[in-house]
């Protein structure tokens, strides 16, 4: 009961989001064609795994007061290199996959190195690597080379089902659980939060600020590589444009999930709800007869509205209270 106000606010935000999600399910369940079928639910999961994975690892980075614009490009670079290793390097796909995870970790490591040792702002660094990684993917393939005809055992990862559930969903759930534990049950999460609130204060408290930030970025790179693998397996093709724009989708899910872009505040379950709310919205709109021909535009548009509403949900009542108690005179220039 004696919750600190920030936590209470957060709880409220996640509750709002959960309510939105339930409302979406109810609405589309009624108005949407074949929305609630197991096949469609599997589709929703399948289609949100990559962005979901990126959002899960974007979240700690943002929690620690940073941002990673390069995850989508890392995905692209890893997809291409995975294809290269498998097709031109002659590796087994399993081996290539493990190597790809290493490549992703290295990409994250480059961000980490620049951010922690040179103390450059994460926005600039990852803006640079956003271009750099995508550019390397294009340079390696000249933009045109595509890797296809992967073995069925590999494609199973992206298209098959295990126990009736899409194969990649198992990967996603494992990562989600691991991230939840990491953020909410270990000192890693605690340190990220502290760094997000006050990086100097965290350093004075003896926390290994650089290492924690580096870990978040390496984690982001590694999981982006994992997402590259599920993406390639689902799609059957690896090309330099894989994952274009996914960083923005991931950030959208993270902030919709209630993580503060200034760091310190946020939760993994909120992020998951954010991912789900966006995915269900997009899928549902393509099933309602009135909107199915404009689902692409409308889901973008409504995501925007949802973003504002979910955050304003708490802000509007507060504004009225403030208004009444503060009795500010009408605004004039200072």
């Amino acid at each position: 009961m004696n919750l600190p106000p920030k936590t209470r606010m957060l709880l409220r935000h996640e509750t709002v989001l959960l309510a939105v999600l339930v409302a979406e399910f109810l609405f589309f369940g009624v108005a949407g064609r074949n929305f609630g079928t197991p096949d469609n639910l599997a589709n929703i999961v399948r289609h949100s795994v990559e962005i979901g994975l990126l959002a899960l690892v974007m979240m700690p980075v943002v929690l620690a007061g940073g941002i990673d614009l390069s995850v989508g490009s890392t995905l692209g670079l890893c997809a291409v290199l995975f294809g290269k290793l498998w097709r031109d390097g002659g590796l087994h796909w399993e081996v290539a996959a493990v190597a790809t995870l290493g490549i992703g970790a290295t990409a994250g490591g480059v961000n980490a190195l620049l951010i922690t040792t040179l103390r450059l702002p994460p926005l600039i660094v990852t803006l640079g690597t956003y271009s750099l990684f995508r550019g390397l993917a294009e340079a390696i393939t000249h933009g045109t080379d595509a890797f296809t005809r992967f073995p069925p055992t590999f494609l199973f990862l992206g298209t098959g089902r295990i126990a009736g559930i899409p194969a990649q969903a198992w990967i996603f759930v494992s990562v989600a659980v691991a991230m939840w534990l990491l953020v909410h049950r270990t000192t890693f999460g605690r340190s990220w939060r502290a760094i997000g609130f006050a990086p100097e204060g965290a350093r004075y408290a003896g926390l290994p600020v650089g290492r924690r930030l580096a870990f978040a970025h390496v984690l982001a790179g590694t999981v982006a590589a994992l997402a590259a693998i599920t993406y390639t397996a689902r799609f059957g093709t690896a090309k330099a444009d894989a994952g274009t724009g996914y960083e923005l989708a991931a950030i959208t899910a993270v902030v919709l999930g209630g993580t503060s872009i200034f760091g310190g505040i946020g939760s993994v379950h909120g992020t998951l709800l954010g991912v789900a709310a966006i995915a269900v919205l997009g899928n549902g709109l393509s099933r309602v007869p009135a909107t199915m021909s404009n689902a692409g535009e409308l889901s973008g548009l409504l995501t925007g509205v949802l973003l504002v509403l979910a955050l304003a949900g708490g802000a509007v009542p507060k504004w009225f209270v403030d208004r009444r108690s503060r009795k500010d005179p009408a605004p004039v220039l200072p």
Partner: protein, 310 residues
């Protein structure tokens, strides 16, 4: 001076080296007329970058500028195509920008929502709304609008002149007027600003409105360069503007940066892609080199950070 503006000078150093290299390997790069044309084409981006710099100095961000840019372009185009007098169409486009900015401003300053969320929302909403409304169909413009009826060279000088005027005016306001310093104060510490008698929320609102109006102006500067409006225009504009600002030394955490740096950052980023064409580098190296240059431009600053143990 050098100490306080180390970033700006180090980026300037990189820019000058790039230009020197070009002078040696591709002197054609500096041929006056193509150079003027390229600068004219890039001028609207400079105006947006100036606005973004101001927004970032106030410790906010606006990623909806690309979408707003498209909306303003379409507004200007549609009104002009509907035979509205040119000055009125232009004024309407700028007003549309200001209104869009005011919407962001109300949500950020009024409801105290984080600007990244608000402008992310307006970014997708405006873009998708525009797509729904226009379906990507080009708008044909009447004759008087291109170069505002001037001969082309005149128009080019006008567009570049407007961009430089905006830059100079913004630089002067941000440096020498109380309201500009208030923006720095709010970005540095909003609570301290409040205690000093500044109204941070009002300043934030004004900043967003101004950002919107500048976006509208930039849209007009772009529209007048061709006889058609492409409603998909402005995609990724926000990223280019933010990149110019941050490379030029504007701090994401607010309160720091100046417009001279923005100009340097803008020029550096704006000259890379054409430079590659001039040197004849294959296009699939574009993005990698662009990224590398961004990182390179700030590395000197980073090494200095490291040395100072900050």
């Amino acid at each position: 001076m050098l100490k306080r503006h180390f970033r700006e000078f180090s980026v300037l150093g990189v820019l000058l080296s790039v230009l020197a290299l070009l002078g040696v390997f591709a002197p054609d790069f500096f041929a006056p007329q193509p150079l003027l044309s390229r600068l004219t084409a890039a001028a609207p981006k400079l105006v947006v970058a100036c606005g973004i710099a101001m927004v970032m100095i106030s410790r906010q961000i606006d990623i909806s500028v690309g979408s707003l840019f498209a909306v303003c372009s379409v507004v200007c185009g549609l009104l002009a195509a509907a035979k509205m007098p040119v000055p009125l169409a232009i004024a309407s486009a700028i007003a549309a920008g200001a209104i869009g900015g005011a919407l962001n401003g109300v949500l950020v300053a009024g409801l105290r929502l984080p600007s990244i969320v608000v402008t992310l929302a307006t970014m997708v909403t405006l873009r998708e709304g525009l797509r729904l409304a226009r379906q990507g169909v080009f708008i044909d413009l009447p004759d008087g609008l291109q170069w505002i009826g001037l001969p082309m060279i005149g128009g080019q000088y006008l567009v570049c002149g407007i961009a430089l005027t905006v830059l100079a005016a913004m630089a002067a306001v941000m440096r020498h007027l109380a309201i500009g310093r208030a923006v720095y104060a709010v970005g540095s510490d909003a609570e301290a600003a409040r205690l000093a008698g500044i109204r941070p929320r009002l300043i934030t609102f004004v900043v967003f409105v101004l950002m919107g109006a500048l976006t509208g102006l930039a849209a007009v500067m772009n529209v007048v360069q061709s006889p058609q409006v492409d409603p998909n225009t402005g995609r990724m504009l926000e990223l280019e503007a933010i990149a110019a600002a941050v490379v030029g030394g504007v701090a994401v955490s607010g309160g720091r940066g100046n417009l001279g740096g923005v100009l340097v950052g803008f020029l550096l980023l704006a000259c890379i892609t054409p430079a590659l064409t001039y040197i004849g580098v294959k296009p699939y190296w574009d993005k990698a080199i662009q990224g590398a240059v961004i990182l390179l431009a700030v590395v000197a600053d980073g090494l200095r950070n490291r040395k100072n143990g900050r």
